[in-house]
């Protein structure tokens, strides 16, 4: 007995912007800025090859949580343009992507945000679990620190002598797409962004539009604690990509799948509309699900990043 579905591109959003949204994030950044980065790199010979040197990079983030990365560097003289690759919700940060970007000539930092393997000694809510961790309180909500983990990958790259600080891009899909929007919105150093199938955008809408994990974690939580609904929705608005996207100024290429049941296409259209950059492009793969046409789309990401931060040889 479902109502006919509004065309996804016309759906819009019910996300609201809290009046103290900017002040809230300013406070988070102020708190983060008092925590030293303490960047470290350790060579990982097992994951290196003739073209790419792989390191375990690490740094300190909000709440002094130690964040691990795969840091892959081309075996040729720098300075290199750099790519931050952000991970999905349940998958481990893909070393594969780091090696591929480094083989193309970019230094690539693949981030294990808090809760992932190697970054879970101090914070480990699990999957499911992360999305609703302290979800009634924006000051201790999981993603408050996790967003900073992603943003500080920029500082990690800036600490590296082989990285060209003027040429940093960010990409990832699903949670990695949502986090790409976060990092591009919060860090001026980002010169190009390619979020795919962005998660954490239109959260209020997504929990109505889909019943798959991870968004379903919120519905599970509200089924058990219906009286906390307003508190939960109030929290997630502070973390919604739709509220952050207007700050993005770098050229941004978004891809979504028209049949995505994990991150509904409605939310992809809504966040794309909200992106503040004057150069932005939306690529819709109408027949694709949550992959959002990844295989077909990848060459466009490579081209976009090369166009806006310069190909490695330039």
């Amino acid at each position: 007995m479902e109502r006919p579905r509004t065309p996804p591109e016309q759906y819009g959003t019910s996300v609201t912007r809290p009046p103290d949204f900017d002040a809230f994030w300013q406070e988070v950044w102020d708190e983060a800025s008092r925590i030293p980065l303490e960047p470290r790199v350790e060579p990982v010979p097992l994951r290196s090859n003739e073209h790419v040197a792989t390191y375990e990079g690490s740094y300190t983030s909000l709440n002094r949580v130690r964040i691990a990365t795969w840091y892959c560097v081309p075996r040729r003289p720098g300075p290199h343009p750099a790519v931050i690759y952000l991970p999905g919700y349940i998958s481990e940060p893909p070393l594969q992507k780091g090696r591929e970007w480094a083989a193309r000539g970019y230094a690539c930092c693949v981030v294990a945000v808090r809760g992932k393997l190697r970054s879970n000694a101090q914070f480990n809510p699990g999957y499911p679990g992360l999305l609703t961790y302290n979800i009634v309180d924006r000051y201790t909500y999981s993603y408050r620190g996790l967003y900073i983990d992603a943003c500080r990958a920029v500082d990690f790259l800036l600490s590296r002598p082989e990285v060209d600080p003027e040429r940093i891009a960010v990409t990832g899909s699903s949670q990695g797409g949502g986090l790409s929007i976060v990092v591009a919105s919060m860090r001026r150093e980002i010169k190009a962004a390619c979020p795919g199938a962005p998660y954490l955008c239109g959260i209020r809408d997504a929990i109505q539009l889909t019943h798959t994990y991870p968004y379903e974690e919120i519905n599970d939580y509200l089924r058990l604690y219906p009286e906390r609904r307003e508190q939960v929705l109030a929290t997630v608005d502070y973390f919604d990509g739709i509220n952050l996207a207007p700050r993005i100024t770098c050229p941004t290429l978004v891809n979504i799948g028209g049949k995505d049941t994990i991150c509904p296409p409605e939310t992809g259209y809504a966040v794309f509309k909200a992106i503040g950059a004057s150069i932005k492009e939306l690529k819709v793969y109408p027949e694709e699900g949550h992959s959002a046409g990844a295989a077909q789309h990848e060459p466009l990401i490579i081209e976009w990043i090369a166009r806006y931060i310069g190909s490695p040889s330039s």
């Binding site: 010979p45 097992l46 994951r47 090859n49 349940i90 998958s91 481990e92 893909p94 070393l95 594969q96 393997l117 699990g126 999957y127 499911p128 889909t210 019943h211 798959t212 994990y213 379903e216 599970d220 939580y221 089924r223 058990l224 049941t261």
Partner: protein, 258 residues
């Protein structure tokens, strides 16, 4: 890569090790993940080591006994709560599901938290110490667990997963109505590895790049995990997925089971 002369003995020893240990199951209601259509339990039981494992167990609300599908997850740390249809709603189906977290995966990570990448070569120098020997036992134990449940129709147990599902089916055929397997980790590695450029198979290449002198040792261990050598022991119906040409050898080894 030849079938090791003691292939059968190696696995029979492993299965005897498992048989000596009680399943010792504990079920705990997971109220947060349950819904009006399905009850989710957090389950723990014991495998070789001895090692305590975790699984999510989804039982439809209603009158059993239910058919059950035992799911062996892919090669990653996180195992998801079994859901119903692709839209997430429990599909109204009458089939219970068990989603196993094998040793090293999240929730079955104490004391052994596997690295991804890393787990594929953990202990690879010695067949007895190779972590996947225990993982195969874990998969068999998941079948033992559902067999022990009164709400399950034991004539309707199916197993699904990658190579591991087929390996476990070799030792639990008499309990299984069928197995679906999509070989991904151990099949025809001598041919697959030189062509592989992506993880997880790249883990083997990484290892051989760093330790070229251990090549013989590595393949000696991997021979105990070649799905082709498990095939003759599988006596329940098999559905294979993957490239038919690549799987043809396995299909032939399975004879009229596939």
């Amino acid at each position: 890569m030849q079938k090791p002369a003691d292939f059968d003995a190696y696995w029979e020893r492993t299965m005897q090790e498992l048989d000596r240990l009680p399943v010792a199951a504990e079920l705990e209601l997971n109220q947060l993940r349950s819904s009006p259509e399905v009850t989710i339990y957090n389950v723990r039981f014991t495998s070789i080591g001895p090692y305590r494992l975790f699984a999510y167990y989804a039982v439809p609300v209603g009158q059993g006994p239910f058919p059950v599908r035992v799911q062996i997850g892919g090669y990653q740390s996180v195992v998801t709560v079994p859901a119903g249809s692709p839209t997430g709603h429990w599909d109204g189906g009458n089939t219970a599901r068990l989603a196993l977290c094998y040793r090293g995966q999240r929730h079955s990570d104490k004391p052994y938290a596997a690295a991804f990448p890393g787990m594929l070569t953990d202990g690879i120098e010695d067949p007895q110490e190779y972590v996947w020997r225990g993982v195969v036992a874990d998969c068999c134990r998941a079948v033992d667990f559902v067999c022990s449940r009164p709400e399950i129709d034991v004539s309707q147990i199916t197993l699904t997963g990658n190579d591991l599902a087929l390996m476990a089916a070799a030792f639990r055929s008499d309990r299984l109505a069928g197995v679906s397997a999509a070989p991904a980790l151990f099949y025809r590695l001598e041919e697959a590895l030189p062509r592989a450029t992506a993880y997880p198979l790249e883990e083997f290449n990484d290892y051989l790049r760093l330790y070229p002198e251990r090549r013989e040792q590595v393949f000696r261990t991997l021979a105990y995990f070649e799905p082709l050598y498990f095939a003759p022991r599988v006596r329940c119906p098999v559905r294979l997925s993957g490239d038919p040409a690549w799987l043809e050898l396995l299909r032939r080894a399975l004879g009229n089971q596939s």
